[in-house]
Symmetry: C2
Subunit: 230 residues, 2 copies
Amino acid sequence: MATLYHHPLCPHSRFVRLILAEHAIETTLIEERAAERRREFLALDPAGRTPVLVDDDGTVVSGAMVIAEYLEETADPELNRLRLLPQTPRERAETRRLTEWFNLKFYEEVTNWLVTEKVYKRFLAPEIGGGAPDMDLLRVARANIRPHMRYIGYLTGARNWLAGETLSLADFAAAAHLSCADYLGDVPWDEYETVKHWYQRIKSRPAFRPLLSDRAVGTTPAACYADLDF
Amino acid sequence: MATLYHHPLCPHSRFVRLILAEHAIETTLIEERAAERRREFLALDPAGRTPVLVDDDGTVVSGAMVIAEYLEETADPELNRLRLLPQTPRERAETRRLTEWFNLKFYEEVTNWLVTEKVYKRFLAPEIGGGAPDMDLLRVARANIRPHMRYIGYLTGARNWLAGETLSLADFAAAAHLSCADYLGDVPWDEYETVKHWYQRIKSRPAFRPLLSDRAVGTTPAACYADLDF
């Protein structure tokens, strides 16, 4: 069985867990606090970032998008399973652009601040950055999420799913990041009805269930986090 | 003919220019100062980052790795050209991991500081971040480049090229970022002989020539920048 080194509130790990679940690939989960820079973890991935997948043949694949591409390439074609990258190069480029949008831009502007300040810092020693959350950074993240909500609303208003007519990696990237912000109570759902409807559709998928029952040590999820009718 | 929106000292643009040149795809280059957030450029790519490729059928592809994947997928298979992503999923994962290493990690730790402080800030209005370079940030970037040089040295000591036995996207990503640092005189070549030998091999390729004759307005390249025997 494959192994995934992850953190429950690492949005990139959640992105990969959603893809694995959609493909019905069972995985052993190992929780990793990347900031502690554990020697054995750095030996697997010198960049020292979650997620890292160790496939059952020992292949080490690290980085959210690298793992996503690897899973697309290695999934058994006989299974005629869901494809999360569409067929044409143009559609694939749009899917990758939006996947990167969430995994890089949304992360830099929103989830990195929320998760680092509210979760990671609580468990780090002060000499490696631990401490109380910086409220100014949280305010910036909560302001930054709004243009992203508008953009998701614009896309899902014009298309069936984020990158086009079919469900794709882009939807899972967006949902993974939003689910972290949602766990922490930082998504202004009521102001963005179209986004809420799109998120309800993806949140109802069986692949989402394990994320909804996740509990990060010492952090209680927001009241409606696991509610499908929030 | 395809069009590439780029900046001469944007390392991600250089990465794409190298790939286009290796594939002998002629492109019209349009210089873009992304920080100015020109309306027509944002309409092409809402993330507002170089590079953006507009293919000759009008397909807009934005982001360095997204363009690289698109070029791999669309290049004419009849031409039996150089493949910059290897054949097996395991090798492809290693190539993508290292490409991302340079395009994200090296960029965050080295090239972003060097190019922003030494080049971009000179041409920006003060109200959008223009001004004199911050010498502390430059010192940090010059310290940060050293572990990367050791890592490139380790990889090229153990393998023929960065990601394995064949030339790949990873080599062009590393070379693109190093070429920006080299233009600005910030690569300590003399301390890393193995890296220098690898860089000499890639710098000698015809695809590299246009980069070596590049001149960014107001910034003169370091003395040995265009010298193949530096």
